[in-house]
């Protein structure tokens, strides 16, 4: 093996940054449109719009500097790999400092986590405004406030924007920031993939929002053809945006799994892994394997819309059932992509504040994996009334109902941990308790939908809409709020105001239940989803829901106010370990150093060993100098 002595490192003199990225994205779009028109296949411009979005994204990524490394390597230049694990100084030197690092391609998982957080919160505001407009329109039972064309656009934008957000809202900010800290690693396994998994999300959001200029798309988030083939160019936003999210899910899946499998610190055995890491691990499995199936379906839809293939056109040898199968084969694991990290958060935070060991650690992990495994075998419960394979209905009914067993385990473990504990009711803990209540309702209503005879009445009604809002908003978003109040002090170095936090929790909890519980009743009383015109008898109910929804939006504004108040006005610096817990991520200084750990920690005990006589500290930080990994 030849080892050259001193080599000059070279790379492209590409001025990278957000400005370049945007400056390249714009001509990229017009180039794509021009190319699409050049092929001149059909005059409705779908080819041009899709290619335009594609080239805009490529231009954006090049402008950020994603091309530098692969192109440099292709040119034969000696590219510096991401600093290796034992090279502490190189890690520090390679990291860009100052606020500009948040607006450029950074390979530091902590920067990426915060980039994700801010992006997601901005998207959340957008999606939330969509929800408010929808609810406003439903104040009246006819389409007099919002014309049907705009209403249907709002439905689509709110739905898809929220799906984008909820796919990433825990995995992105908290997964990226915390996983290396929790397993004692200095960085992620594939920092470039990690950065890519973030940097496709802002273009996805922008492209989705661009659908407004085409009049939106009429299909909601499910994109069922042939409606989605009948739709105008707004549909192309749906396709490209979702492809980008699929890319984010696959890249972050590879990165998270490889990191957790290979880069755990010495002594971080599988049974010492924090539950949050297990939540991310199982989520990553689902994202990695489900998103490619979505990509296939989206490519087929794009081909149908551009070069006139007929994957989904029954009269030309296709079938819309193909989309329904592929989409829900992705779509059901996707909903567990939302909730598994939330399970991880709950099972991680509760023992820390209960100050008791997690009650049944292995059972909890088995529960997570049970959900992961079963989620592949349930997708046709979305299709009970579609007419697909009626003989398979009993199987999917059984598999769907079986999934409540591993889900029940999550409750078992959490309640067992609370048993005879001395719980410190902080704001994160309040949100965990709120999660338990909301997700219980969400889970039980799911059983109603899994039963074929009752699903016939409830399918496609507000009942199912209320069900998934209970699981996603009441479950995932509540868990995400718990995570914000719990981990943001570590991530930003500033405590959030607990007083505003408590008000925020109670307003959000009450407003949430007051918004969505009546919608179960609306669904049972014959109100279908996604309608701008409904039964006038239900107007009172809908008005109540709308006013509650305003209060729910107000509670989110309270959260935003808390962030602004606690970050800019009355700042309270966070200690390294403000909650006095055993989690490894709390044992590093605040703010977290660029290297995470000066020396690779030697893990000697589990994170939840509270109350155990003579329990060892969680890690030995004077440990090895050298590689991470093993375990």
């Amino acid at each position: 093996m030849v080892v050259p002595s001193a080599v000059t490192e070279r790379h492209l003199a590409l001025p990278t940054g957000l400005i370049t990225a945007i400056l390249l994205a714009i001509p990229g779009y017009f180039f794509g449109v021009w190319l699409g028109t050049l092929f001149g296949l059909f005059d409705d411009q779908n080819t041009g719009v899709i290619l335009g979005y594609g080239f805009a994204v490529i231009g954006f990524l090049i402008g950020l500097g994603f091309l530098n490394y692969p192109l440099g390597r292709l040119m034969g230049w000696n590219m510096q790999p991401v600093p290796v694990y034992s090279d502490v100084d190189a890690v520090a030197a390679a990291a860009r400092q100052g606020w500009t690092r948040y607006f450029s391609l950074s390979l530091d998982h902590k920067v990426i986590g915060l980039q994700y957080l801010v992006t997601i919160l901005i998207m959340l505001l957008f999606g939330g405004i969509g929800a408010m407009l929808i609810r406003t329109s439903l104040l009246v039972p006819d389409a007099s406030i919002t014309p049907p064309g705009q209403y249907i656009m709002l439905i689509g934008l709110h739905a898809v924007m929220m799906i984008f957000i909820t796919s990433a809202v825990i995995l992105g900010p908290f997964g990226n920031y915390l996983v290396p800290l929790m397993i004692g690693a200095r960085r992620m396994a594939f920092p470039r993939l990690e950065a890519l998994s973030f940097w496709v999300v802002p273009p996805a959001a922008v492209i989705l929002a661009a659908a407004i200029f085409w009049g939106g798309f009429p299909t909601g988030w499910t994109g069922y053809p042939p409606l989605s083939e009948q739709a105008g160019q707004g549909m192309d936003s749906y396709i490209v945006g979702f492809v980008l999210i699929a890319i984010a899910l696959v890249t972050s899946g590879i990165n998270m799994l490889a990191t957790i499998i290979t880069m755990r610190a010495p002594g971080m055995t599988w049974t010492r892994l924090p539950m949050f890491v297990w939540g991310i691990f199982t989520t990553a499995i689902l994202g990695l394997l489900a998103a490619p199936v979505l990509a296939t379906a989206l490519i087929q839809l794009a081909l149908d819309r551009t070069v006139q293939t007929s994957f989904f056109l029954a009269s030309n040898g296709g079938s819309n059932y193909l989309w329904e199968n592929l989409f829900w084969f992705f779509g059901h694991p996707e909903v567990y992509i939302f909730i598994l990290p939330a399970f991880g958060i709950i099972m991680d935070i509760v023992p820390h504040f209960a100050r008791k060991p997690l009650w049944g650690y292995r059972t909890g992990v088995v529960g997570l994996f049970g959900v992961t495994l079963l989620s592949w075998f349930v997708w046709q419960h979305h299709l009970f009334v579609s007419g697909i394979a009626p003989v398979l209905r009993p199987f999917y009914m059984l598999s769907t109902e079986l999934i409540s067993i591993p889900t029940g385990i999550i409750f078992l473990v959490t309640l067992g941990t609370l048993w005879r504990a001395r719980v410190w009711y902080t704001v994160p803990m309040l949100f965990c308790m709120g999660f338990l209540f909301n997700f219980l309702i969400g889970g039980i209503s799911g059983v109603y939908l899994s039963d074929v005879p009752t699903d016939v009445t409830l399918h496609g009604s507000y009942f199912s809409m209320a069900h998934f809002h209970y699981t996603i908003v009441g479950g995932e978003i509540f868990a995400m709020m718990a995570a914000c109040y719990y981990w943001l002090p570590k991530m930003t170095g500033k405590m959030l105001s607990p007083t505003i936090g408590r008000v925020h929790f109670w307003v959000m909890f009450i407003a949430f239940n007051s918004t969505f519980f009546p919608l179960f009743i609306a669904g049972i009383l014959d109100m279908p989803r996604r309608v701008s015109v409904y039964n006038p008898a239900l107007q009172g109910l809908n008005q109540w829901v709308t006013y509650s929804a305003y209060a729910l939006f107000g509670s989110m504004l309270l959260f935003a106010a808390n962030l602004i108040y606690s970050w800019f006005f009355v700042t309270r610096p966070a200690l390294a370990n403000p909650w006095q817990v055993r989690g490894l991520e709390w044992q590093v200084p605040t703010p977290v150093p660029v290297n995470n750990f000066d020396r690779v920690p030697l893990i000697v005990a589990g994170p939840y060993d509270y109350g155990i006589p003579n329990a060892r500290p969680v890690a030995d930080f004077g440990g090895l100098v050298g590689a991470t990994g093993g375990g």
Binding site: P4, A6, V7, P15, V84, V250, L289, N316, A627
Partner: protein, 214 residues
């Protein structure tokens, strides 16, 4: 770097020296071992994801074939492109994959590697060109039923990955020369070798599905 933006716009694709150091120095043995595991794990994860991608296409094939809606799955006059042409592309890819796999696993750093690896690159490029040519001469139009749709989509998706693999292969090859950074990371070439092999295997399944299944 953001401060240099207007000036260096002109220098976009010009390499500049930014730091002299010893990037070619072998990392600590433990780091190298870890990196081997990281790369191998990442590759296997990617192949798992890609398998689901292609499986969705095969599912589409058999699903639409079983439905045969409006008797338009494969209307009269629509047949697969010439068998010999498909076989040619397949043979090129298999040969390429096996050549590189053997070269990177058994002969890395030896004279034979520098001989065989370029051969595999040439084979890969040839396969891309032939398949790309084939895509423009399918013998049927996109609108001609389900089979035409699946053929174009599946072969196209496979071709795009083949092109990507070819670029990656070229990178590995270029970096494998003396002074390249792959010199100190032989395992990255060996890990990459799984991908062409995988694509060749997918190519075989695609061939059976698209050409042989009636």
């Amino acid at each position: 770097m953001p401060g240099r933006w207007p000036i260096s716009a002109a220098l976009w694709v010009r390499p500049v020296a930014v730091r002299t150091g010893t990037p070619g120095v072998a990392p600590a043995a433990a780091d190298a071992a870890l990196e081997t595991r990281v790369l191998a794990t990442g590759m296997w994860l990617w192949l798992a994801a890609d398998t689901f991608f292609f499986a969705a296409w095969w599912f589409s094939f058999f699903y639409l074939k079983a439905f045969n809606n409006n008797q338009a799955w494969r209307p009269a006059g629509v047949d697969h492109p010439a068998l010999a042409f498909g076989l040619l592309v397949l043979a090129l890819v298999i040969l390429m994959a096996i050549t590189f796999w053997l070269a990177s696993r058994l002969l890395y750093g030896s004279f034979l590697f520098s001989l065989l690896a370029p051969v595999s690159l040439v084979l890969a490029i040839a396969a891309c060109i032939f398949q790309g040519y084939g895509m423009w001469h399918l013998g049927f139009g996109m609108t001609q039923g389900g089979y035409a749709s699946v053929f174009a989509g599946l072969t196209g998706a496979w071709l795009i990955q083949l092109v990507g693999a070819t670029g990656w292969l070229a990178t590995v090859l270029i970096q494998a020369r003396e002074g390249g950074d792959t010199v100190v990371r032989a395992h990255s070439a060996a890990t990459f070798a799984w991908f062409p092999l995988y694509l060749a295997a997918i190519g075989v399944i695609n061939f059976v599905v698209l050409y042989l299944v009636r």
